[in-house]
Symmetry: C2
Subunit: 237 residues, 2 copies
Amino acid sequence: MRVEIWGDIACPWCYIGKARFAAGLAAFEHRDQVEVVHRSFELDPRAPKGETGPVLPMLAAKYGLTLDQARQAEQRVAAAAASEGLDYLADGRDHGNTFDLHRLLHFAREHGRQERLLDLAYRANFAEERSVYDRERQLELAVQAGLDREQAAAVLDDESAYAGAVRADEREAAELGATGVPFYVLDRRLGVSGGQPAEVFTDALRQAWAARTPLTVLAGDPAADACGPDGCAVPQP
Amino acid sequence: MRVEIWGDIACPWCYIGKARFAAGLAAFEHRDQVEVVHRSFELDPRAPKGETGPVLPMLAAKYGLTLDQARQAEQRVAAAAASEGLDYLADGRDHGNTFDLHRLLHFAREHGRQERLLDLAYRANFAEERSVYDRERQLELAVQAGLDREQAAAVLDDESAYAGAVRADEREAAELGATGVPFYVLDRRLGVSGGQPAEVFTDALRQAWAARTPLTVLAGDPAADACGPDGCAVPQP
């Protein structure tokens, strides 16, 4: 079975939902037959590139809160993170454009390092003081994830690298009806929206597993060009 | 959309079918939204490891043919390959156990090099004199595919590396009802058996594309922990 997870580095519920999904998956009987792929979704695609700012004033302006109220809201999110065993600085992170991070995650996927880079990027954004929007920081994370520094730098410096892959993910999210993240898609059959409790994920995995249907195999040429345990079809003279 | 292709390096119709599928895919309108994954299938899992032999006597014994008849049969397969623009030595290759090659292909997949290694392995087996069952040859192919030689050697030398992944692919093939290869699975919905003509693949891709169904999104907590363009859910005090 295959689970695709749309999310954004800037999304606290994606960070927290990742731990909840992991717990839900751990309780699923067929967990060793589940493949997880992470897909791109930008919460704020219009955020200007190269500009960052502290998150609290942004949240205050967005929700019409005082700075203190924004901080308290973040503290409540931090408490939700803590209950999943995750560190979360309620007054630390900044916000910015995540497109480059998504491109880097696609590069990491091609090298079998997506999961590690994503974990590192979430942690860097939500639990560490340094900005995750800084190129040097992104390269450090890439190296920590096991990627080649030169190659990762080349990806970051070429704005077109993996840009199509990010856009394709975002188009697919829209086609699937996702308006927010995290958004989980199981075997392209069942969707789960939001960082739900672990049990919801376990139930969804079981439901999608039970819903697997036998393939419709196209009726082809009966003397199809194929090989089996008893040998291969051989064209007649 | 996602296409999984089960095949074996020792399978001529997988080699030829790969070119036919590529042509069918090239004619498909949404080809840039198709992801292809190659999966493992051993035609002869009981072939003793480390032993190889020329293919013609094996074919002759298997089908009750004279050596000349076996050569003629291979020449007809070679003609089918030629009509797809593929080289094929009718009297060159040997046969052996392909398990290590499958393990190596899984390693290559993790590094984004599966497609290249598979193309090189097919070509090495069917169009080149040297044996593809030779460890040194396999390492050369890995390097040619862009993989790290030391890492590839470590994979080949550790019999357990990716063995589980190969077995899992084979279990899935059986669950999906595949008794031979090549076997194509489109979105886990539609199967195509055998190296069919390109048009069959184009039709199958169109059919699977049209059959995509809207997701069932699980009704979760309406105040789900999620973020959207308008912001993130915030736990109430």
